[in-house]
Structure formats: structure tokens, C-alpha cells
Subunit: 509 residues, 2 copies
């Protein structure tokens, strides 16, 4: 078989990314030195990043990325960063007592890789037990947060900046939104677009850290020290969800929870729209059909869940906490962040099912959000309505419009393919989780398996029961956790770039 | 609001169908007289059929059916026949002691309508308790079977014969298969096509009855008396699933179970292909991509489930019963018949999940089967593969082929719409079943709710736990049963003809 893909170029670019990973790895290294903790985990990771990255980089000098090479590079990069990024967890685990979830001769590498993949894919599902939260160094905890922040930045750059024609239904859809094109006209150089996005992302993260820490300085948030403020800033705009606190956002005062909500919402908003906002242009967001749909979904689902929490005598409380918890956890699920302000696993089945449905929604395209995304749902709903219309008027020709633009029929099909594939893969993952659990003699519940599968594949993080917001994924069998690692990877880079790797046409034609 | 749909024509045609319903109603009437049972339930139903049908018929003398009128007529007819067809159950319930599932002042009409809708939609989900199976007259039991047989015939006529451009992705897809067109060329008059289909259906039913009864006469099937032979013939080719026996096909000897399998398979095969078979033409079925896919699915899923039953120490037995039960229940689920040869609810979660996935497959288009159907899955899989290819070769134009023909892109979108709508509606129904169950303080399991929802909406019949094959749906809350009645109706006439009724464009434009 003759391979026609220039895989050396893909590997070489992945190598460059891996090499540069040594820079953010320096941050926890410095913190470890300051705190007097073991710097070895980070030194090993930096060494591997430099040596492996440098070696891969040398595979090709002149690198050209066509469509297929770009797919391969994205798939390899997310996998490679997850692997190298998990080295600090693995090395830490070697030295830890066996009470740690990272320790143990078999589970060690799997759990470390799980945590690394969950980090870079901004999933936020953890295998850390209570022991880890109490005993891991701040350096290790910071690295988890940083990995997620890098993952959010990476997806933004892929979706908007460098490789905008890449993520099939993500970026092709972005094209249908006039915003992107207009920004391109303003800033025709790709580097410049990337720099704008990067600037906005850094700025929002700094704003979040400043806000959280200001609340602390004002005496309104005793737990929100500088470390926590930075840690949560790194994973809120990134809609990522890791927290150094075992109780996630539930560890903080109500005002902190209120303060986190807008940063999750902003992180899941199209960054091109955000750019216009920074230019004082408010009309574009208001005119964006997708933005209104996204905000509408948050409001309606937030109201429904708050009402359900309110009506259930088991969870009913005063007005403010009811609205806060209802809204916070709906925003957290829909934006795919995965924080929890309270243990929503104790809510009624109705409220939990609403959160479950919310997982499939996702925020806006062109943001750090994961899942199916509101743009795809908007197109799907419009396509449903159009097909109902043409079923009674078969002769009618009715182009599908989004804002002022016509969505071409190929894009409609791409969207349908994506939504259906996502749902089918989620279904099959659920069946695997159930069967694998029965295989090891440990009966997982159906809803438990569904929630965990959706949360993993759609990169949200927590779900219900053993995958509940204050629980961790170490309770699933090792085989399930290995499959979940792969599913986080496939879900984050939007399915298609991985699936095509398994077609012969990818390598030969 | 000005109504532009000629609803009088639709109602008038529904009236004609209702009037003619008095003819099959005569069969249980005669049986009741022979057996010395109460003939009143059937007399009332006949009176209502004649009076109501006659009145509706008079709404319009010259009847013309355009697309919309045809949709409305199909929706009204299935609803009307279910309502009138449930009268015998309701009237019987009035006279029965309160131990009957049909009796009681509140549940009476709901359960009777449930049974009637389950009958005409060929779902086969029952609310009959053990008491009913022991105490209902043979006339009532026969009427359940006859309703299902009529439902299978009705769907065949709609899908192939009279209204072939009607059921969106059912019939438009049929068009893509050259077979249908060729039959039309041979027999250009629609009546003639309908007569061929009708003849085939009657012939296959007679063959099934003859086969079953012959096994009885040969002493191989003591339980399969003439009444049972006719009853099961009426609901096997119709892929319908009602049985006068509480243990369904489990009440009979293994050889009977083997004999039922081919009739379920044939009932879910495209009747146009069957017509060619009767002409001695074996090449067309073999050349049909959909037929090979359908048979392949049955074989592979049958093997998987048999292996799972075999490997589970709880259910493992000898080779013949393992293969028989594995194959029988897979065929029953995939063809949407809903018989059970054994209580598969006692199988392992893995095997049950395979049956659950099988529910979504369905048999061939142009047959009596329900669910999504193999043609739609075949198109979906081909569209997936095509979209993967074009995602790496964006410039490529690759028409989607089925056999020798190109499937046009509008049909691909219709198929996507249908599959996605079916899955989403199933999901929402599951959530409703769970929430409604919690509302009445009765915790339904997640898999229990999923199984029942899929089985109801995809018109299969049995599922798991309280909806298990040897159980009945009376255990669900009344509100859930009312919603299930509506969902059986929507599912059987393929979603679109009902959904369009809720659009303003249907009535006005
Ligand atoms: K997340
Ligand atoms: K059925």
C-alpha cells in the first residue's frame, strides 16, 4: 500500500507543538520549587517534550499542510499533548502511597493518561480521589488547570484562526456566519486573526482571575485565594471544568458562583462576536441568530430546572439559591464547562434529565465549547421545519437561511451527519459502559452509564451517581476508562478528523 | 384563518374506511354467537362504524386527494380505526369484574383505546392482564388479532399501493429502488398493484395458518389448535405481535417457534420483492442491496445475541435452544413483530442491549415492518461514508448510489431528517416516561423507560421489566399510557404526516 498522505509534515508540526509544551510546563516547575515540592515530575515531562518534540519536528523541513495532513496533525497533536501532559501525573503517582488514585502498578498509567486527556480536551472528568485533592502538590494541581487552559486555546486556534477550513461542521459552519468573513477582511493575515483570538482569550482569563481575587480581597470569598482565583480563571473561560477543590464551585460563597456564570457563558460564545463587543459593536451579537438561540436556551432551560428544583420538596429552598443552582448548573452543562455549584446528583430525576439533555446542546461554534453546539442545532431545527414544509409542498424550493445568508445543502448534510454520528456514538459508548461493567461483575445503572458516556464524549466532565459532580471516574473499570480516554479525544476534535483516519481513502487516494 | 386543505375529502375517505370496518367486525361477532359469548361489544362497534363512517363519508361527494389531504386522511384513518376498533374492548370491560385490566371507571377507556391503537398500529403492546387472557372470550381475542392484520394490510397499501408518494422517506425511497417502478410498468393501474399486494398478503397469511395448523395435526404442536394457528398467522406476516397466549410464542413447542421465524422475516421483506419471488425470479432479491443488508443484520445480530446467551452461565443451555432463542427474539425485534420465544428480560444486560439496539433497525421498506427500516440505515451509512470522503476531498462530487441508481440529495436529507427525528422523539418520550413515573411516586428504571419508549414509538410491542414480553403496560401511569397511545399512532404512520398537522403552513398556504 502506497501512502499518499504527507504524514511527516503532520508529525513534524505536532513535534513543534510538543516542543513548545515545555514552556507552560515551566510554570508548575517554578511553583514546585517555590513550594518546596518535588520538581521531578515536571523535569521529566519537559525533557520528554523537548526530546520527542524535537525528534518529530525533524521528520520534515519544508512542511505543507493540505486537508488530510491537517486532520492528521490535529489528531496527533491532541493525542501527543495528552500523553506528554500526563507525565507529571504518572511520575507523581510513582512516588505516592497506594491510596492515591494515580498510584498502583496497573492503574497508574491509565489514570494519569485519563487525567491528561481530560485536561487537554477540556473535559474535566477526573480520576482524582479525595486523597489526591488533599495531598497533591499545588504544582500538580496547577498543571491540571493549565492543561485545560491550553486545550481551550488550542481549539480556538483550530476553529477560528489557523485551520479554519478544517473542523468540518465546526468551521464550515463558521463560514456561513458572516462575522468570521468580515473579521478576515479586516485582518487578512491568519496570524493576525490568531493573535486577536489569543489576546481576547488571555484578556478574559485575566479578567476572570482579577474578578475572583477581588471578591477575596473584598472579604466576600474567603476560600478564593490567589491560587484558586488563577486556577478557576484558567478553566472557566476555557469551559473546561477542572477545579483544585473536590467540591468544585460548591466550595465557594454564592457571590463567587454568580461571578463564575458570566465567564462560562462568555467562554462558550463565538469569539469573533466577542471581538466585535470589545470594539463596542453591540449590534452584531444581537443580530446573530445563533447568539439569541444560545442565550434563549440557557434562559429557558435554567428556568425549567430552577422550577423543578423549587417544586421538589427534597431540594426546595429560598429563591436565590434555587435560581442560582438552577442557572449555574444549566450554564455549566450547556456550555460544557462541568463545574457544579451543588451536588445536582441529589436532584429529582426530572431535573437530572434536563441537565442530561442540556449536555447535548453545547455553546456557540467558534468558542471553547464542546458538544454538538447551538449552531448545529439551529441548522437542524431549520432543516426539520423546511423538510416538513417540502413534504407537503414537494415542488417548493426553500433555501435554508441563517441570518442573511443561505446555508448550502452540503453544509446541512454535514450538520445532519455530525449530529447523528454524535448521538449514535454516545449510544454505543453507553452500551459498552454497561456491558463492560457487567463483565467485571459491577452493575452500573443505565442512567449512570448514559450520563457518564455523554459527559465524556461531549467533553463536559461530571454526570450522575459514580460520575457525579463530587465523585470521580476511578470507579469505572480500567477497560472503560481506556475507552473513555479515546472517546474524549474523538469528541474534542469533532469526530471526523479521527474517523477519517480509519478509511482507506485517507491514506491512499 | 382560512383553511385551504380540503379536509372534507380526507374525512370522507376516512368515513368510507370506517364503514368498511364493519365487515371484519362481523368475524368476531359470528365467533361470539358460535361460542355463546356476548355479541353486544361487536354489535355496538358495527353500529358506530356504520353510522359514524356513513356520516363522515357524506361530508364530500367528489373526493380529491392532494398531498396534504392524503396526509390528513392517513392520520385520521389510523386514529379513527383505533377508536372504533377499541369499542369491543371498552364494552367488554363494562361488563367485566374489576379484576380486568379493561374494567374500572377511569382506566376503562384508556386501556381499551391503548389496546385498539396497539392493534391497528401493529405495535402489539398489551394492557391485558393474566385475568384477561384467561377470561376474555375467543371473539375478543380474535378481534385483537384481526385489528393487527388489518393494520399490516393498511400500511402495505399506503406504502406501496394506493398512496405511494405519501409516506415521505418510506415511499420516496421505494421509488429509488427500481423494483417498484418496474412493477408499476408491468401493472400501470394502481388498483392492480394494490390487488397484487393484497393477494400476496392474504396468501402468506393463509400459508402461515396452514403451516401452524399442520404442525398441530402432525402432533408436533399440541397447543397450536385452529384458533391459535389462525390467530398467530394474522399477527406474524403483519409483524404485529399480539398473541392470545400470555406467554406469546413461548407457549409453543420449539418447532412452532422455528416455523414462525420465516413468516416474520417475510412480513418485513419488501412485498414487491416477494412478488418477484412468486414469479420465480430469484435474482432481484439477491441483487437488492437492501435485502442483503437486512438479512445480514439478522444473521450477525442473531449470532451475537446467541453467543451472549450462550456465554452467560445464567442463561446458557444446549445448542439448539440457544440458537433458537437468540435468533427468534432478534428476528422478532428487528422485524418489529414483538413475539417472544422466552422471557428475554431474564437475559444479561449485554444481550438485552443488543435487542434494544435491534429495535431501531426495522425490516425493509415496502413491508409491514415499522421502526427506522433497513433502507434508511443503508442510506445513512452510505451518506456517512460519503461525507467522510468529501471531508478529506472537499472538491470531490460523489453521488450516493443504491444498486444501479443514484439516490438524490433531497432523499438523503429526508432520510437524515427521519432517523434523527425518530431518535430525538424516542429520547424525549423516555424522559417523559421517567418524569411521569416519578410524579406518581413510582420509580421506573431508566432502561425500563428506554425500552418501553422505543418499543412503543417504533411499534414493536414488548421491552423489558414491567414492559417485558410476559408482562403488560397496565403498570405504567394512566398519563403515560395516554401519551403512549399518541406515540404509537405517530410512529406507525412515520412521524411526518402527524407533525405537519401542527404547522400553520399545512392548513393555510
Ligand atoms: K468541560
Ligand atoms: K409489533
Amino acid at each position: 500500500m502506497e501512502i499518499r498522505v504527507d504524514w511527516r509534515s503532520s508529525c513534524s508540526l505536532t513535534g513543534t507543538v510538543l516542543k513548545w509544551l515545555s514552556v507552560p510546563l515551566a510554570a508548575p516547575l517554578v511553583l514546585a520549587v517555590i513550594d518546596g515540592d518535588d520538581p521531578l515530575p515536571f523535569l521529566v515531562a519537559i525533557a520528554v517534550a523537548v526530546v520527542l518534540g524535537g525528534a518529530l519536528e525533524r521528520l520534515r523541513e519544508e512542511r505543507t499542510l493540505e486537508q488530510r495532513e491537517a486532520f492528521l496533525m490535529v489528531a496527533l497533536t491532541w493525542f501527543g499533548v495528552a500523553a506528554v501532559g500526563s507525565i507529571p501525573f504518572f511520575v507523581t503517582g510513582l512516588a505516592a502511597p497506594s491510596a492515591s488514585a494515580f498510584a498502583g502498578p496497573i492503574d497508574g498509567p491509565v489514570n494519569a493518561f485519563f487525567e491528561g486527556m481530560s485536561g487537554i480536551t477540556t473535559t474535566g472528568a477526573t480520576v482524582m480521589s479525595g486523597w489526591d485533592f488533599e495531598n497533591q502538590s499545588r504544582a500538580v494541581l496547577l498543571w491540571r488547570q493549565l492543561l485545560q487552559w491550553l486545550g481551550g486555546l488550542g481549539i480556538l486556534i483550530v476553529a477560528i484562526g489557523l485551520l479554519s477550513n478544517l473542523l468540518v461542521a465546526g468551521a464550515q459552519l463558521m463560514e456561513t456566519e458572516s462575522q468570521t468573513r468580515n473579521v478576515r477582511k479586516l485582518h487578512p493575515h491568519l496570524d493576525e486573526t490568531a493573535r486577536l483570538i489569543w489576546g481576547l482569550y488571555v484578556g478574559l482569563t485575566a479578567l476572570a482571575a482579577g474578578t475572583f481575587y477581588a471578591l477575596h480581597l473584598l472579604g466576600l470569598a474567603p476560600e478564593m485565594d490567589l491560587f484558586n482565583a488563577v486556577s478557576h480563571a484558567l478553566t472557566s473561560v476555557a469551559t473546561a471544568g477542572f477545579s483544585p477543590e473536590p467540591d468544585s464551585a460548591g466550595a465557594f460563597t454564592p457571590i463567587v458562583q454568580w461571578a463564575i456564570i458570566p465567564f462560562m457563558i462568555v467562554g462558550a460564545t463565538n469569539f469573533v462576536l466577542l471581538y466585535y463587543l470589545t470594539q463596542g459593536d453591540w449590534t452584531r451579537p444581537i443580530e446573530s441568530e445563533e447568539f439569541r438561540f444560545y442565550i434563549g436556551v440557557l434562559a429557558v432551560l435554567g428556568a425549567i430546572v430552577s422550577a423543578m428544583v423549587w417544586l421538589d420538596p427534597e431540594t426546595s429552598s429560598a429563591v436565590e439559591p434555587t435560581i442560582r443552582h438552577g442557572l449555574f448548573n444549566v450554564v455549566s452543562m450547556v456550555t460544557t464547562t462541568g463545574y457544579a455549584s451543588t451536588d445536582f446528583d441529589l436532584w429529582s430525576p426530572g431535573a437530572k434529565h434536563m441537565l442530561f439533555l442540556g449536555m447535548f446542546l453545547g455553546g456557540m461554534a467558534g468558542s471553547t465549547t464542546c458538544s454538538i453546539k447551538s449552531l448545529r442545532w439551529l441548522v437542524t431545527i431549520k432543516a426539520f421545519r423546511r423538510n416538513l414544509f417540502t413534504s407537503i409542498h414537494p415542488e417548493a424550493v426553500r433555501p435554508l437561511r441563517l441570518g442573511d445568508e443561505v446555508v448550502d445543502e452540503e453544509t446541512v448534510q454535514d450538520v445532519y451527519t455530525y449530529v447523528l454520528l454524535a448521538i449514535i456514538i454516545f449510544f454505543l459508548l453507553t452500551v459498552f459502559v454497561v456491558v463492560d461493567s457487567v463483565r467485571v461483575g459491577d452493575g452500573v445503572g443505565e442512567f449512570e452509564a448514559m450520563g457518564a458516556s455523554a459527559s465524556i464524549f461531549l467533553n463536559i466532565g461530571p454526570a450522575f451517581e459514580r460520575a457525579g459532580p463530587f465523585e470521580n471516574y476511578a470507579g469505572f473499570p480500567t477497560t472503560t476508562r481506556i475507552v473513555m480516554i479515546v472517546m474524549m479525544w474523538i469528541g474534542r476534535i469533532e469526530i471526523i478528523p479521527v474517523l477519517v483516519l480509519f478509511t482507506a481513502a485517507f491514506w491512499r487516494s
